[in-house]
Amino acid sequence: MLYLPIETMMNTLKQTEHIIALLHQYLAGILNEAEQEALRSYVKDYPALNILLEELTDEDVLLEKLKDFENVYSDGKEATQQRMLEMINQRLQKPPVIKSIYSKWWPRWAAAAMILFALSFWGIKQYQHDTRAITDKRLQQAAKIYGGNNQAVLTLANGQSIRLLPDRKGIETQGKEVRYQDGTPLTSSEEWSDHYTLHTPIGAQYQLTLADGTRVWLNAASSITYPQQFQGKERQVTIEGEVYFEVAKNIEKPFIVCSEGQEIEVLGTSFNVKAYTDEKTTRTALFDGSVKIKHLGTNGKMIDALLLRPGYEAYLQDKKLTQQRTDLNEAKAWRQGNFYFADTPFDEMIKQLQRWYGIEVIYRNKIPVDTFRGGMSRTLDLLTVLDFLKGSDISFELVDKKLYIN
């Protein structure tokens, strides 16, 4: 191994470029005296350059090398690059930051996105009608799968669980009692607990009003742990999954939302937190007012903090906290009974479907790197939703609540 002093190493790449330029000129037969001398001295330093020179002057060999270069991708350019990107993304342990580089995919997906957009929400019924004939065959084969059938569960401090009625929409804390929002009692005062955990399973969402009047919406597969009464200087709750808050104003007593690695501190405002443990990013979208987001280390100490502005969303990912302007429709859609995708990566989109329809997802190949834009109703059955998402590059197959993606 050859080691050189640092100063002489600085320009190795410049030297490489110089050699290449000389080689070009050599082959074109236009080297002048000084350049010939320079090339000779390089050959003296690197005798192996002679091999290269021979190679380059023999046309057939050169074409052969060019062919090797051209055919370097073992499974074709697209598939091989895709596989490498997959490896990179996997090793970086984050959602795909690298988008597909095959431009020809984009027009297709742009078209798909436009269709999605055009048919969103109110347009959906028409579409359903039009495509019924096409999807009928498959609908007969597979029973329709709907989301939204499951029951939320309330767990008391003693571990006792109460299944909540799905048709009541929500519960509230009234004094020491918990009751449905329509006034039907749920626990009597003998059963009171000093704290509760409300949990929604896959395919369910539920509402809750806390003792201070703060209103809480839980999306599917989410939970909130909260006290019967807020004592002390703060109002603190702990969440997992996706939760929307309308915090009752109380300047004296800040409201604190804890999730993994993050704490949100507010006085009174509304915001949406998405903190699923199976997703790499914790997202907090602010509708009005201002909130303080703190990133906490494993020891509970604050590492970083930022003040979030309305219309912005905070991202906690890979221990980094950032904020950027966002499309609030995305954070709002689920409470209105819709899916809404704003350049949502494929796997994130699929996770939303999993949480709503309770399906198992099996990737036959790699996870596609496409993103989706548009929205549709969550009351639709799964196959109808999938019909929207089908593209020329992705096909779905549904067998017994197992979704295979090709």
Binding site: M1, L2, L4, I6, T8, M9, M10, N11, T12, L13, K14, Q15, T16, E17, I19, I20, A21, L23, H24, Q25, Y26, L27, A28, G29, I30, Y46, P47, A48, L49, I51, L52, E55, L56, E59, L62, L63, K65, L66, K67, D68, F69, E70, V72, Y73, S74, T80, Q81, R83, M84, L85, M87, I88, R91, L92, K94, V97, I98, K99, I101, K320
Partner: protein, 194 residues
Amino acid sequence: MANTTNIPDLLDRLHADDATVLSALFQAYNHRLLYFAKSMVHDNAVAEEVVADTFVKLWQGRYRVKREDGVKAFLYIATKNACLNYLKSSHAKQHFDYELDEAMLTADPEVYIKLIRTELMQDINHALQQLPPKQQEVFKLSFLEGLSTEEICQTLGLSPNAVFANRSRALETLRKLLKDHTFFLLFFLWHHFS
């Protein structure tokens, strides 16, 4: 020249943890790095693995890169070291990625020649890619695949006249593209056709 890849604000974006720059770097370098790695390890799967790892290493070591041309050096050095480690039966010493000195590239003359060859091929290939798609196809089929005019007609569904036209247009465009730097390609094309 083709090997000076122009990615705007490359260093700033790297240092600001802007992961999109990794995508741009992948596009700019994956082809030549794969060729370079393959020329060392002679194994598709290993080479792909090594190159994917190289980009991960660059991302993880992005703060250590202080100069814009250091990015290219980093990519080559990391690829080279990983390949040498893979082949370490013939090289007793383990090569570590913190030895990010550019001299690492010239230290082993045999490897250095592979690097120069890679950059040359990258140059030519880049020039080819500037051609319109039809001309590119005709060029590839006739020179790289060695197909006859008749075979090209069948493959591309073109008339013989169209194949000739595309081939001569390819040459003309290449000449224009290469006029400024890659003289030798011009030379060899002339030679091949005369």
